[in-house]
Subunit: 272 residues, 2 copies
């Protein structure tokens, strides 16, 4: 029987694990999925340079979600198939179906993990990883088909009530060439709370906008949620963190790493 | 001014990012911290082989936590200092103090992220990353000094009430050569709930024991929490997941990847 290896490409060009290069070279076929995460444009060129192979097969959403990754499974049934995924492969839950199907068919699977926004956000902001509640993805509302992401707002509120931070991942529509920005996300959240008629707005909570985490052009800013709407964060990927209760060392890190305005820092430290 | 680069070594030998190797070669000094995570024994040997340098300076807890990483800062004030950390560097919150201090002194800092158990656990178990509540570390109780980790148990309960999974990281005492095992963790949790006199025990909840996640010897088992006490998981590192509500695709993944007993899977699917 063959084997299917999932390899994480991490956040930035060159973040893939050192040992993965040899596996890519040896593979009978190398597939790459580009629709769940925003990777730097030069990453494939970089892969060609370091692995010496250029026959990467790009998988579309339809290849994986409608056709169940049949092309990948066909190679993996007899030989060594590799699937490259941005970030850490199974943060995108969609890929687990392929892993489970491979195992059901008796194909051995292996995962070579890589960096993910899920843990990297702690390094980029100085917020403690133990103080994040469940994370959530904010999807563009589509009122015309009855979809309004109230549940995302509710997760944020639930976390705040428990004193926890929320990592808000932002909608990415690869096929439309569209990725939600931090200012857009703030506008959507404030629009949601207006429609929900909440008692206490989150507009004055300290939030962190983090663009291109792990990239050489990383840009991170902490301010009130409403103020982040006015900041130009540049190109995607963007994520947003709504803070819960802040430990003094977290406030200090937000000041030093994320330019949290001094007067907000003082207010936060007094409140304790 | 100089620069301080934090580089994640990831979970397993060779998981460090490909682009990090060049940075390690160029550095004026390379420090390595081995007390916050359990890495494979051959990792330093591997680093010597791929980077061609063997002058890694091992940092103790006291170097970083009592002396504030002064040796690192001294190099970084003028040249290029690298600090290697297992996993993704800032999952261990202790390293943020060093980054903040460096920035305060006008030293540029950079992070090259790598794989972490925080995201890898989703790939190892098939559980959805969006369904994890806050994570927690279970520390050995020390009743003799009045320390009993009730709060850890309470975080698990809080997550269960919201239908969320809990990733329980286990105590690692590098200086004593001691790392908590999954069976030990189960015993401690059941001892805690006895002392707390909780209404409903968690002993029959589905839990997942995951040993050496991301390693070639990874070993993962799902069963009731109480049953995991009887499994031999081998060498550390170990982590434990206490599940909240399970989606059918999660149950399926637990069966296929983690050998969840069929009768438990059927019970879980019926309950929905």
């Amino acid at each position: 029987m063959g084997k299917l290896v999932f390899i994480g490409l991490g956040l930035f060009t060159g973040d893939l694990p050192y040992r993965a290069v040899e596996v890519i070279r040896r593979a009978d076929a190398v597939f790459i999925e580009l629709y769940t995460t925003v990777l730097p444009q030069d990453y494939i060129e970089y892969l060609i340079k370091i692995t010496g192979r250029s026959d990467f097969k790009i998988l579309t959403r339809s290849d994986l979600e409608d056709r169940g990754g049949e092309d990948v499974l066909e190679v993996a049934a007899k030989g060594l198939a590799v699937l490259l995924v941005g970030g850490d492969p199974f943060v995108a839950t969609t890929h687990m179906a392929l892993r489970v199907e491979a195992e059901r068919r008796g194909i051995e699977t292996e995962v070579i993990h890589s960096s993910s926004i899920i843990s990297a956000i702690a390094g980029a902001t100085g917020l403690h990883v133990y103080k994040f509640g469940r994370c959530v993805t904010l999807v563009y509302p589509q009122p015309e088909v009855g979809y309004i992401p109230y549940s995302t707002y509710e997760v944020i509120l639930e976390n705040i009530e428990r004193g926890l931070h929320t990592l808000v991942l932002l909608d990415y529509r690869h096929e439309e060439g569209r990725a939600m920005t931090i200012p857009e996300a703030v506008s959507i959240l404030l629009w949601l709370e207006e429609r929900l008629g909440v008692e206490k707005s989150i507009r004055d909570r300290v939030a962190v906008g983090a663009a291109r985490v792990g990239w050489s052009t990383e840009f991170v800013r902490a301010d009130t949620l409403a103020n982040l709407r006015e900041v130009d964060f540049g190109a995607p990927p963007h994520v947003l963190v709504i803070t819960g209760d802040l430990h003094p060392t977290e406030v200090e890190a937000l000041e030093v790493l994320c330019h949290l305005p001094r007067e907000l820092a003082i207010k936060l430290l007094r409140r304790r």
